[in-house]
């Protein structure tokens, strides 16, 4: 849709911001938790509807953006995915969100604002918008992380996240400034005229890109910038960890891809060294440390680092195969993670022992959780398998000399099976009396739907990918 690239802010951006305001003000009128949750769900349906209306060219708001935002099929499709995932997430965990503290409506409002940031990241065409998108996405998260005020761990996590986040934002700004110095532009697309005028300061461009790369690596928790992740994911209320680990993280990757598909050539040879190095470090740090965890929540935090390593493969070949791959990965990984976290929030004890004998007490939970975990591990017949396959294949498509890297990644995937299967082992083969909070039939139905989706996408990934081209 290039002819409309100049015109048109996405509906999703405007509506998610407005809906955030409505949600916040709704909190004044509606006092009951159930009412707030219902309002959030209705508003999410409106958001999804407005976005789909634009997707199918029925209705959209035209605004002259002066090249700040660019609409692309890729970004639009990604928005559809994240809005749907958020809807699923709220349907599944809405009760837990309002229970975290006394500000249910505000939590939802912050989630909407964060979603607004994510939609900006999927459509930015200018580094100013990248900066704003990253900030709008993460600032609500600082608050959500520390929302459990009575819990010291939550406070600590919030402060840690805030400090580290502002530090990485500083690096991002430095990178953008250097980028500006190197090209004379904030736009991410290369402009010939501007570039020639700035040849003298050309060296600043790779340096700026390196800084942006570091900052974005921090946001998606790629090693060696991942140290905040386990503490923050562990300390934050579980429902919000689920949001952070899925929607926010994948939006970070979209930002990554949008910039580096155009600009990785400017990094020159250093890109060829940097990317494999970061991927291997991330896989190593995530998978190996996850093996030693005793708490399932902390294990999932490390596993989310490991998944970041796989998602970074999309940067190898971001043109078509990698883009399809990241879409598939977003869906597969997010569905499975939202599912496991939903089960986790219902558990009384977050350690592996807490899961002992879950299959006897709550067979549906155990069965669906098994499917989520199999998908996370990337076992065939689940969505996670094809997601990983596409990622690795995209690296091989770039050049077969990446074979060694693919082999390393497969080995680490094998390591991940160990710690994922410990959960399954605890649920099915260990005696115990896993305690959960009250579980509604609706919750079970949703879990079954998610599990079914994972299997369907695992059997026929083309169903999802065809939508991308439809």
């Amino acid at each position: 849709m290039p002819e409309r690239a100049e015109l048109g802010v996405m509906n999703a951006i405007i509506f998610s911001a407005l809906i955030g305001v409505v949600m916040m003000l709704g909190g004044i009128v509606i006092k009951s938790n159930a009412g707030i949750k219902l309002l959030a769900i209705i508003l999410l349906f409106i958001l999804l509807g407005s976005h789909l209306a634009e997707y199918y060219d029925l209705f959209n708001i035209h605004i002259q953006t002066h090249g700040m935002l660019a609409k692309s099929r890729f970004g639009m499709f990604f928005n559809t995915i994240i809005i749907s995932l958020t809807l699923l997430y709220v349907l599944l965990s809405g009760d837990e969100i309002v229970k975290v503290g006394t500000y249910g409506a505000e939590y939802f409002a912050l989630i909407f604002f964060s979603l607004c940031g994510a939609t900006i990241l999927s459509s930015y065409n200018n580094l100013l918008m990248l900066f704003l998108g990253v900030e709008i996405m993460t600032i609500p998260l600082f608050v959500l992380t520390s929302s459990e005020k009575k819990n010291l761990k939550s406070n600590e996590a919030g402060l840690k996240y805030f400090l580290m986040g502002s530090f990485s934002t500083g690096i991002l700004l430095m990178g953008i400034a250097l980028y500006y110095g190197g090209t004379g532009l904030f736009a991410i697309e290369a402009s010939k005229a501007a570039n020639e005028a700035q040849q003298a300061f050309r060296i600043l461009l790779p340096l700026g890109l390196l800084f942006i790369f570091i900052s974005l690596s921090f946001k998606v928790s790629a090693a060696p910038f991942h140290f905040w992740t386990p503490d923050v994911y562990d300390g934050a209320p579980s429902v919000f960890t689920s949001f952070m680990a899925t929607i926010v993280k994948t939006a970070g990757f979209i930002a990554f891809i949008k910039l580096f598909e155009l600009r990785s050539v400017d990094m020159g040879y250093s890109w060829k060294i940097l990317l494999p190095l970061i991927i291997i470090l991330t896989l190593l740090a995530g998978n190996i440390t996850a093996v030693f965890q005793q708490s399932v929540k902390r294990m999932l935090a490390y596993s989310s680092i490991a998944h970041a390593g796989f998602m970074l493969f999309a940067l190898y070949n971001p043109n078509d195969f990698g883009k399809q791959g990241i879409m598939l990965y977003t869906v597969a990984y997010s569905l499975a993670t939202i599912g496991t976290f939903a089960v986790l929030t219902k558990m009384k004890d977050y350690t592996y022992e807490g899961y002992n004998g879950l299959a006897k007490t709550k067979p549906v939970l155990a069965a669906t959780n098994t499917i989520f975990i199999l998908s996370l591990a990337g076992i065939p017949l689940t969505a996670g398998f094809f997601a990983k396959y596409y990622m690795l294949a995209s690296a091989l498509k770039e050049s077969t000399s990446n074979l060694w890297l693919v082999i390393v990644a497969v080995l680490f995937a094998a390591v991940s099976v160990y710690y994922y299967f410990r959960v399954i082992q605890a649920m099915y083969f260990k005696d115990g009396n896993a305690e959960t909070t009250e579980i509604k039939p609706f919750f079970k139905t949703l879990l079954i739907i998610i599990a079914a989706l994972i299997i369907v996408i695992g059997l026929m990934p083309s169903l999802l990918l065809d939508l991308f081209y439809a």
């Binding site: 002066h66 503290g101 100013l128 918008m129 600032i139």
Partner: protein
């Protein structure tokens, strides 16, 4: 010597001397106060370059808000002789090396900048730094980021209330 030139040299000298005093002062509070002097001197330079907006913003944001924040932090930390962190040799060494690296870069940059050699700054002309021009630019080319930043501030405000309010 024209009056502009006199002011320029005066401000430059003030900025450099104050900057040196920031580093040399024993008391951190004195350092902060010297830093404020640096900011004022730099703001003076901006005025000379006809960039009034940035001059005012520099004073309001840096000399005002950020310096007050600095002072608050310093006073809350309650630094004195006993609590002074011990700097070991390695720390000093790394400081010297990193500072020296920056110095080398700056010197090489100035040496290579042949384009600006012998040229003096254009003072009192140009309208790029005027509020009027800036406002026009902000509300035409940059209107989207300008408007969207309101979402950022709103979420930050809600966040502050959610965290800060008593349950």
């Amino acid at each position: 010597m024209a009056i502009t030139e006199i002011i320029f040299w005066f401000l430059s000298a003030l900025a450099v001397i104050s900057a040196i005093m920031v580093v040399l002062s024993k008391s951190p509070v004195h350092s902060v106060l010297w830093l404020i002097a640096v900011f004022f001197a730099i703001s003076g330079h901006y005025v000379l370059l006809n960039a009034q907006f940035i001059a005012i913003v520099n004073i309001i944001v840096y000399a005002g808000a950020i310096m007050v924040l600095f002072l608050f932090v310093l006073m809350l930390m309650n630094l004195n002789k006993e609590t002074e962190p011990q700097k070991n040799l390695w720390m000093k060494l790394t400081g010297v090396v990193s500072g020296g690296c920056l110095l080398i870069i700056l010197i090489s940059l100035v040496r290579q900048a042949t384009e600006i050699k012998g040229k003096i700054a254009v003072t009192k002309t140009g309208d790029i730094g005027l509020i009027k021009v800036l406002g026009k630019e902000l509300f035409s080319s940059y209107v989207v980021p300008f408007e969207i930043s309101s979402v950022l501030f709103l979420s930050a405000m809600i966040g502050a209330v959610v965290i800060g309010k008593k349950d």
